[in-house]
Amino acid sequence: MSLVFDNLGGLITALLWVNVRMTLTAVIVGFPIACLFAVGRLSRNPLIYYAVTVYVNVLRSSPLLMILFWAYYTGPMVTGHSTSAYMAAVIALTAFEVAYFTEIVRAGLQAVASRQRRAGLATGLSVTQVYVFIILPQAVRKMVPSLLTQSIIAFQDSTIASIISVPDIVQVTTIINAREQRPIELYFALAIIFFIICYCLSRLVDYLEARQSRRILGVSKTT
């Protein structure tokens, strides 16, 4: 047991500095791209529509590991300079999450009643303004629970980076285990750390969903 506490600092550092940082980067960079792509998924221009749809469907049907291979092994061949394993993992995770976020944002945009869009247009706003100031703010509020759930999955998926030797918490555990040969304690600790974080976050999602359905019910009661 003391073995786990001795190494806890290293594990938590790897968790924050690699897994959490990677997840946050993927979410923060991926979300704006996903918003653009979601508008593309609703576009009447067939070129934009098909390009985005193919991207979303291909990425959602491939394993993250394959996308990671593309970024890590073929990325340098295409760009001509080497990519660090961490950078490749960030790029792969972002590209992967963009596909999932796009579908969540698209569903959110479609859930905003079309009379909101027509009313916005009628006040003289341009299509872009209507999206940015009227539809997106309402849609984002509805999407928050799904986006958070997807971010939890992204956080769990960030462990896959250990397969290309990114020093994340799983990789650090494997290294410590190679030295100490105490897999029971180490992998138990690893599982518990993830369980506590992801369990608390999914309770937060439940709370947000409950609050949201209460608010919708409350609004429909007063009108």
């Binding site: 049907s61 394993p63 092994y73 993830f194």
Partner: protein, 239 residues
């Protein structure tokens, strides 16, 4: 920088046989895991509506544990930790038997079963309360009502969401490379390392997973069409 393509590495020996065996391993692993996940997930999902508090608690615990720990961590746990809990001779037996594949099947089915259970629970809410009451009023016990009436209905209702979980099993099976199962992603990496034709190797691996996803989606849409609950979708739309 110019990249030289040589697609023939994919069908030149020794890789042709490796590729075929890798694809078959992916399919075998995913299908076995899916069957277990479907059975365990359905049982656990239905158990979450059980009249007994202890059964409900155990079912929820199952879902929370397997849903909130990353698949890779569960896989390492199954591969490195579980054999240590066995006596030495049994442990050797386990590895002779092929624990790489066994641990991958175990974790993949349990991880997916938690997700299936969530869909089953959502489906249970979608089944009309009147059907439950009528089933019970004909004299069926709670268990009988769930086995003969409600669970078949739930499974028919949630077929669309099960499709995406089925596809996810194929995708998630790629993680098995971490414990050395020679499945598609493993052979992709081997092919890349040995020939340095990474584009060809990755294209092959990705194509295999995309094909599997397409086949699963096609199969499930046929099942969905034939098992659709009459009237249910229309009523949902007009509500």
């Amino acid at each position: 920088m110019r990249i030289e393509f040589d697609w023939s590495v994919l069908w030149r020996p020794p890789f042709d046989e490796l590729i075929v065996s890798g694809i078959l391993t992916t399919i075998k692993l995913s299908l076995i895991a899916w069957v277990f996940a479907l059975i365990i997930g359905t049982l656990v999902g239905v158990a979450r509506g059980s009249p007994y508090r202890i059964v409900r608690f155990l079912a929820s615990a199952h879902v929370e544990i397997f849903r909130n720990i990353p698949l890779l961590v569960q896989l390492f746990f199954a591969y490195y930790v579980l054999p240590r809990l066995l006596p030495m001779d049994m442990r050797r037996e386990l590895f002779n038997f092929g624990w790489e594949f066994g641990s991958a099947v175990l974790t993949l089915s349990l991880y997916t079963s938690a997700k299936v259970a969530e869909h089953v629970r959502a489906g249970a809410i979608a089944v009309d309360q009147k059907i439950k009451s009528s089933a019970l009023s004909t004299g069926l016990t709670w268990t009988q009502a769930h086995v003969y009436v409600i669970t078949p209905l739930i499974l028919r209702i949630i077929t669309p969401s099960l499709t995406s979980e089925f596809v996810t099993v194929f995708k998630s099976s790629s993680i098995a490379l971490a414990v050395g199962v020679a499945e598609t992603s493993f052979l992709t990496q081997q092919l890349g390392y040995q020939t340095f034709h990474w584009v060809e190797a990755n294209a092959l691996g990705t194509a295999v997973y995309l094909t599997c996803a397409g086949l699963v989606a096609g199969l499930m849409s046929i099942i969905e069409r034939n098992t659709r609950v009459p009237g249910l979708l229309r009523r949902g739309a007009t509500d």
